[in-house]
Amino acid sequence: MTTLISRIRITALLCSISFSSLSALAGETKDAGGGGAMENRIEIKDFAFNPQTLKVKSGEKITWVNRDEEPHTIVSVEKQFKKSSALDTDQEFTITAGAPGTYTYFCSVHPKMTGTIVVEK
């Protein structure tokens, strides 16, 4: 098991090749409602981020929405963007993509849940 975890950690490190940070301009948590751009949404459902890997353009917004009955968080593995507070059911968290690169994140409450954002120019 230790080996498996180490492998995941190493993979996570390798993925985080960019030292630039995603700008957490918005970094806001709110209840899901109408409005807002529908693209670049990551749904949290059944203890998983969907899609698990999301490609966005620099400057675009990324929004997570929690559809589980469990609270979840979004935390950058390499602390490259501001972490969310615990999102309750139907709550959202939004950040703005910064410099191009690959960013890995996880849920600090359920660390088995991991995801990746690839920011392109």
Binding site: I8, F47, E69, E70, A86, F106, V109, K112, T114
Partner: protein
């Protein structure tokens, strides 16, 4: 799905399938007695029918877990009420427990008002002594600061909240495995806590009964759902020389038990909502069951110790 060999301290090749065969899934009150590693059980109904009295004990305490005050979804719209019912059951016991152990997830979202409600309701319990360890739901936004101030001051907890104490010759150890979790990983104790644990048990005689309690199971129940602790083997290594070790956990909201050498691992029911058995659903999380079935899947765990006996008797009872 491939089989997953997790803890194999005994090098006996027990894998997940083997574990599933020997684990206990109990929805009704069951008395577990363990002698020489042999597990025997009697339901509380059987005991009531035969009139067999429970043996006299030197110490009995009660484990309560996963209250999730603040949760209000379909799986249980009134978790405060079921928590109250659990306390009523404790108050109705002919011999009250010496103390309670709460193995975490007092609240759903770590909100001060949720802790307030818990504390308020708990006042109705006749047993006043309570020992706590946090669940991940109790430390969501502040790294456990509020939790420590409320529940760990009187025990002079070390580090992120671990501590030990002695009662009637039994050594109790409360551990924290819900903080500073790593991406892709499981529950975690961390080096500082493990070093403390090694020193804490160093001076104890091997015949001292040891009870360890923590939120996330200290055995690998189902790693795919994060139901395990990555460095628990090191902790168990420090406890290997003891003749009787009882490990009490919460987190998974169901009774599972495994005996490995002198170590009995046991998880408790929640007082709030059940979760699916390992691998039987797309994910863990609150499980909705028919209303009339809910209370049969919520409950408490009573633990009794009699001096001179090697193992502690563990009795689970539901809220039906």
């Amino acid at each position: 799905m491939s089989d997953y060999i997790s803890h194999d301290h005994e090098h006996d090749g027990i894998d997940r399938r083997g574990f599933l065969k020997c684990m206990a899934w109990a929805g009704t009150g069951v008395l577990w007695t363990v002698s020489g590693g042999v597990l025997a059980s009697k339901t509380l109904a059987e005991i009531a029918k035969t009139g067999t009295p429970l043996p006299a004990t030197d110490l009995s305490f009660l484990q309560i877990s996963d209250s999730h005050i603040g949760f209000n979804k379909d799986a249980n719209k009134d978790v405060t009420e079921t928590f109250k019912i659990a306390l009523d059951r404790i108050n109705a016991m002919p011999t009250p427990p010496s103390f309670l152990i709460h193995t975490g997830d007092i609240t759903q979202l770590s909100k001060p008002e949720e802790f307030d409600t818990f504390d308020q309701v708990l006042k109705s319990c006749r047993t006043k002594d309570v020992f706590y360890v946090p669940g991940e739901h109790d430390v969501l936004n502040d790294g456990g600061k509020l939790y420590r101030e409320r529940y760990l001051k009187s025990v002079e907890a070390k580090g992120s909240g671990w501590y030990s104490f002695n009662k009637n010759g039994v050594h109790f150890i409360g551990l924290v495995n819900v903080l500073d979790l790593q991406a892709g990983g499981l529950g975690q104790l961390g080096d500082e806590q493990l070093e403390w644990l090694e020193a804490d048990v160093k001076g104890l005689g091997a015949d001292t009964p040891v009870v360890v309690f923590a939120h996330i199971p200290l055995w690998t129940v189902y790693p795919q759902w994060g139901w395990g602790t990555s460095d628990s083997e090191r902790a168990l290594g420090y406890l290997k020389r003891f003749g009787s070790v009882t490990v009490l956990n919460g987190h998974i909201h169901q009774v599972l038990q495994k005996v490995e050498g002198n170590v009995t691992f046991h998880t408790a029911m929640s007082t709030a909502f059940p979760q699916p058995a390992p691998g039987t659903a797309p994910s863990p999380g609150p499980m909705k069951v028919p209303a009339e079935k809910l209370r049969s899947l919520l409950g408490l765990t009573n633990v009794e110790y009699k001096q001179g006996k090697t193992a502690l008797a563990i009795i689970d009872s539901n809220l039906s």
